[in-house]
């Protein structure tokens, strides 16, 4: 399992109810169910991934988070997890609102556009950065709304969303991000994981 999932799993208490939005092939759900006795549900758009989850016996609903989150009742999950897809929605603001409606808390992770390699790539080459975390070029990227850790920080402040914890991930290293170290962590983290709500 990738480091990001380990961090997310550590944020989730045992015996809770978790909705994994964009659950992929279900590897996070599988881990949470087996290791932490968490009651998991997944929402996934990709047909092959839905099939993989079903084969593993994981409950998954084929659907688009952009339009189909309304089917989950208010506060019906302890946690809702959204891993690295917020930036891919047409309306991330609306999706985040929906996540906060469904979950008592929400864990959102983003590929950090403020990461130093991305910044320098754009600065030096003058072209849209292509990295391991962001492997697509400008015309075929699903990421419509790239943002940095700092952006999401200010967004939560603006919308009065409580930030409970922010963790920066760079390869195997993780670090706690606070307002006091935001500038530096925004520079050195590849991925930002926010626990909000």
């Amino acid at each position: 399992m990738k480091k990001e999932f380990k961090v997310i799993a550590d944020l989730l208490p045992n015996n809770t109810r978790v909705l994994d939005v964009g659950c992929g092939d279900g590897s996070l759900m599988d881990f949470l169910q087996k290791e932490k006795n968490i009651e998991v549900r997944g929402l996934e758009l990709n047909k092959d991934n839905v099939q993989k989850c079903i084969n593993k016996g994981l409950p998954v609903i084929q659907g688009d988070a952009e339009t189909e989150l309304h089917q989950f009742p208010e506060q019906s999950f302890d946690y809702v997890v959204l891993s690295q897809t917020l930036q891919a929605f047409y309306d991330p603001d609306k999706v985040l609102k929906e996540l906060l409606r469904i979950g008592k808390s929400v864990i959102v992770s983003i590929p950090n556009f403020g990461y130093w390699k991305i910044r320098t790539k754009l600065l030096i080459s003058g072209k849209m950065p292509v990295t391991k975390t962001l492997p697509n070029t400008w015309y075929n990227t699903p990421n419509l709304h790239m943002c940095s850790i700092k952006d999401l920080f200010s967004f939560c402040d603006e919308k009065n969303i409580e930030i409970k914890k922010v963790i920066g991930v760079n390869e195997d290293k993780i670090s706690l991000i606070k307002k006091s170290n935001l500038e530096i962590k925004n520079f050195f983290s590849k991925v930002g994981i926010f626990l909000i709500g």
């Binding site: 047909k47 099939q51 079903i54 409950p59 084929q62 989950f72 019906s76």
Partner: protein, 385 residues
């Protein structure tokens, strides 16, 4: 002319060698009447293992029967779900024990309008009580007791089979570990009621039908029943699928005949489907079963609607729909998923993309069969003792 007794003997001789139980426990029907000591015909495939944890109950659709796979001993044709059920199929009978019962109201051995009414010594006809989907599944619960299955690994069914399944889960929340409702609905839509009414009117407009008393005269309202079947067949296909299959192709001729014979292949197809159906199905059964479907509205049985119907469900669901199905649309199937989600049930959902319409669940749709198998096998891993 054969004697009446001789006729009944002939009718029933075909059904002599099929499996049947006599349900002695009185069953109070939703209409208020009670039936008891009635026959329930069924078939099983595969073997129930010693732990009794590999049983799967299949509910059949409107014109289906208990002969899910292999050769149907009555029609001599392949079972209606042979694409999905059998050795090494998605529902593998080498591994699982598959049970299917003929619905009450049907005509393949279970109590139905063609059975003899002991009060009159004539076939029931319209004296048969109006039955509901709930009556059907309550009758089938007796079969599980008889077979010694206290908890099913899975129950599944498409179309009306799916409706029976939803009812089964709501009525007996503990009876199955998992459930796969396919291409169905929790309440019959206006369009579906309308199509059923068309089928019933076709039968009742046939003078041979004679208020349902045709069996005493050793006849069937074939024309009406065939039209009813044609209506069904149109609704099972999609517009695109039909266009691709038939287009404007002519039936074994180079040009129009300038007559009302079946010039077009699609006409020929419908006539064939219609007139082969009359050999195996009882017209009154169509009336009764379509009525049961129309009355089906699971949400109405619970004050809190569909969400309450599925409250406290421990059953794991997989709902599947087909993109081109206009009879039981993706939207209707998703409503089931939404209700299950709202009640906190464990539910998966998959929409199969296909042009083949409602019929898809009976066809060799690889994506569908793969999902069916994947879910079932994973459920077995969780359930087996």
């Amino acid at each position: 002319m054969p004697s009446l007794a001789g006729l009944f003997f002939w009718m029933n001789s075909k059904f002599e060698n099929i499996k049947k139980i006599e349900v002695s426990k009185p069953l109070k029907l939703d209409c208020g009447k009670t039936i008891n000591n009635f026959p329930l015909a069924y078939e099983t495939y595969g073997k129930l293992n010693s732990n009794k944890d590999n049983a799967i109950l299949v509910f059949h659709a409107l014109t289906g029967d208990q002969f899910v796979t292999g050769t149907n001993p009555i029609t001599k044709k392949e079972g209606w779900w042979a694409t999905a059920v059998g050795p090494e199929k998605a529902i593998d009978t080498n591994k699982y024990f598959v049970i299917c019962a003929n619905v009450i109201g049907g005509c393949m051995g279970s109590l139905g309008p063609k059975n003899i009414n002991p009060k009159t010594n004539q076939p029931y006809g319209l004296d048969f009580p109006v039955i509901t989907i709930r009556d059907m599944i309550r009758a089938q619960a007796s079969l599980l007791d008889y077979l010694g299955v206290s908890k099913l690994l899975c129950a599944t069914g498409g179309s009306m089979g799916g409706m029976q399944l939803l009812q089964f889960c709501a009525t007996f929340p503990e009876k199955t570990f998992s459930a796969i409702p396919i291409a169905c609905s929790a309440s019959h839509s206006a369009q579906n009621i309308a199509l059923n009414e068309l089928a019933r009117q076709a039968i009742m407009a046939d003078p041979v039908w004679d208020n349902g008393k045709y069996l005493s005269k050793n006849v069937q309202p074939k024309n009406g029943l065939a039209v009813a079947r044609m209506v069904g067949h149109i609704s099972y296909l999609s517009e695109k699928g039909m266009q691709e299959k038939f287009g404007r192709k002519l039936q074994e001729k180079a040009d129009y005949e300038f007559s009302f014979n079946a010039d077009f292949q699609v006409e020929s197809y419908l006539r064939h489907q219609g007139y082969t159906f009359v050999d195996r199905f009882d017209a009154n059964s169509i009336l009764y079963i379509t009525r049961a479907m129309d009355y089906f509205d699971l949400s109405k049985q619970f004050t809190g609607g569909l969400v309450e119907a599925f409250k406290n469900q421990k059953t794991r669901f997989l709902v599947m729909s087909f993109s081109s199905d206009w009879l039981y649309t993706t939207k209707e199937n998703k409503d089931i998923v939404i209700a299950l989600n709202s009640s906190g049930a464990d539910v998966s959902y998959s929409e199969i993309i296909t042009d083949k319409g409602h019929d898809s669940f009976l066809l060799n749709e690889p994506e569908f069969l793969k999902t069916l198998k994947g879910f079932l096998d994973s459920m077995y891993e969780k359930f087996k003792k």
